[in-house]
């Protein structure tokens, strides 16, 4: 899968491949190629779905309930697990 392809286009391509392969009209050589492509697509799609780091954060707040912001104006967070231990 090319980087800028969306999950949807990859998935759609996957469905096309499946249909083709199941049609039984494809020569063995081509179906092997299709299989390789499908395998790649499945792996990259799966990776894309799982492609982020697990993070559990809690927003830091001031007394008045406003969010604590850093210098660039972004809300500050801390790791939720850490916060839990401190409780």
């Amino acid at each position: 899968m090319i980087e800028n392809e969306t999950f949807e286009t990859s998935y759609a391509r996957l469905e096309v491949i499946l249909e083709k392969m199941n049609s039984g009209k494809v020569a063995l050589d081509e179906s092997l190629k299709l299989y390789e492509e499908a395998d790649r697509l499945i792996s990259s799609c799966t990776k894309r779905l799982n492609d982020a780091e697990q993070k559990i954060e809690i927003l830091m707040k001031q007394r008045n309930g406003d969010l604590a912001l850093n210098e660039s104006g972004q809300p500050q967070t801390e790791n939720f697990a850490t916060q839990k231990r401190s409780l």
Partner: protein
């Protein structure tokens, strides 16, 4: 004439009319004549200053009661009207009962619902779809308690790749609604997530009340981020449920909803993997099978099969060749035989024989011819003899003629030229020979 009804007919008609007219009622009043039967069903009368109505609360609906009712309790009921024909009485079948204060809340809840509905906030067309593949999930709930843990458990169990951002809020009591609303705004303001879960665990109507406040409804309604409301509750609904894009019965269910699409796709991808594998293996198997069956073809198992066609051709050709040869040979033999015959016929001995034969024939015919000729000649001669005799010189001599001969020769003198003067000649005359001498020669 007016039709005459039976009591039952009238009662059933009343029952139908009343029950369909009041299928669901919320009303408040004071409990009196409270009685609990051994069956566990509760019977009482609800009254206000001027009226009263019989009520029954079946055992099945009593388990949500905070405590046993008693006479004098101010309550709010949710009930339906039923008519009991054997007694000709009507009564309320109570579904839910809240004690004083709570009754007010329930009324408020229904009022707010109606208000929001009137504003169009509950319109299904306004519901935003959940993102298919959320990366960041915002949660508005208490930092303590089971809810956030449940959500984290569900999300972590299924995926490793999710960011969870908790905005910790009070979920009950004074100021909770404001905090919840503010948290929703904060998520929107800083675009902190793709989808928002707003919720808390189960509790009494009072406990859940913040989620029924208009300020929370407004925050949810105005949120650009899709909101899932997850409030565990005993009532049919909370206001937040109604305004949210999706409601979930529990916070865990909300978490499942968030990742539903994603896990659906993961499942699909896994299914895809199995299917393509199955297809390709099937296809390979099929080809292998075909190959095997090809291998079993006589051409491969028995190569001579491949040649048999040609072998047949060769056999056939050989056969024909043999026939031709035989025929030719026979012909040639016959020819040879003929030639031999001819040759035999041309053998010199035979030729000689035949020539001899011919010669004999010719000889014979010659002889025959000769004899014939001879005969003829003889005949001719015979015919000549008299003639010759007639011209015989002796006969002439007899007739007076004489023949002159030289003295010493026997050939007759035929011409005067052969005579010389004084030469002696002999004269053959009839009756003898006389000698004479030539005295004179006179030529003509």
């Amino acid at each position: 004439m007016q039709p005459i009804l039976t009591v039952t007919e009238l009662t059933l008609s009343i029952k139908n009319h009343l029950e369909s007219k009041f299928p669901s009622i919320v009303l408040k009043g004071e409990i009196s004549n409270f009685k609990e039967q051994t069956s566990g069903h509760l019977y009482f009368t609800l009254k206000d200053a001027e009226s009263q109505i019989s009520c029954v609360l079946f055992k099945g609906n009593t388990k949500n009661l905070a405590r046993r009712p008693k006479d004098g309790d101010q309550v709010t009921l949710k009930a339906e009207l039923t008519v009991y024909p054997p007694r000709g009485s009507y009564q309320l079948l109570v579904k839910e009962m809240q004690y004083s204060g709570v009754g007010e809340l329930l009324l408020k809840l229904h009022e707010l619902k109606n208000t929001l509905q009137a504003r169009g906030w509950l319109s299904p067309s306004l519901k935003k779809p959940l993102p298919k593949f959320p990366k960041r999930i915002g949660i508005v709930t208490s930092a303590t308690g089971a809810v956030i843990q449940d959500i984290i458990n569900v999300l972590s169990r299924r995926f490793h790749g999710l960011e969870i951002v908790l905005n910790p809020v009070k979920v009950q009591g004074e100021g909770a609604a404001e905090e919840i609303a503010k948290a929703i705004y904060q998520f929107n303001q800083h675009k902190l997530c793709d989808v928002l879960i707003v919720g808390r665990g189960g509790g009494s109507l009072e406990d859940l009340w913040p989620f029924n406040e208009e300020i929370v409804a407004k925050a949810i309604f105005e949120s650009h981020i899709p909101v899932i409301s997850a409030v565990g509750h005993e009532t049919d609904f909370s206001i937040s449920d109604l305004v949210a894009d999706i409601r979930a019965p529990t916070p865990s269910a909300a978490a499942e909803l968030v990742i539903g699409e994603k896990s659906h796709y993961l499942k699909q991808l896994e299914l895809c993997r199995q299917r393509v594998l199955h297809t390709i293996l099937g296809s390979i198997k099929q080809y292998k099978h075909r190959l095997d069956s090809h291998k079993k073809q006589p051409y491969f198992t028995n190569p001579s099969f491949l040649l048999s066609k040609y072998a047949l051709l060769i056999d056939d050709a050989e056969e024909r060749l043999r026939e031709v040869m035989t025929r030719t040979l026979t012909q040639r033999k016959l020819q040879l035989f003929g030639l031999q015959k001819q040759a035999a016929a041309l053998k010199p001995t035979l030729q000689i024989q035949s020539l001899k034969a011919r010669l004999q024939q010719i000889d014979k015919s010659l002889q025959a011819t000769f004899l014939t000729q001879l005969g003829r000649k003889k005949e001719h001669l015979a015919r000549l003899i008299p003639h010759l005799k007639s011209i015989d010189p002796k006969n002439l001599i007899a007739k007076g003629y004489c023949i002159l001969f030289p003295e010493k020769e026997n050939s007759a003198i035929l011409s005067i030229k052969d005579l010389h003067l004084n030469s002696s000649i002999r004269l053959l005359l009839n009756g003898g020979v006389a000698k004479a001498t030539i005295g004179e020669i006179v030529h003509d």
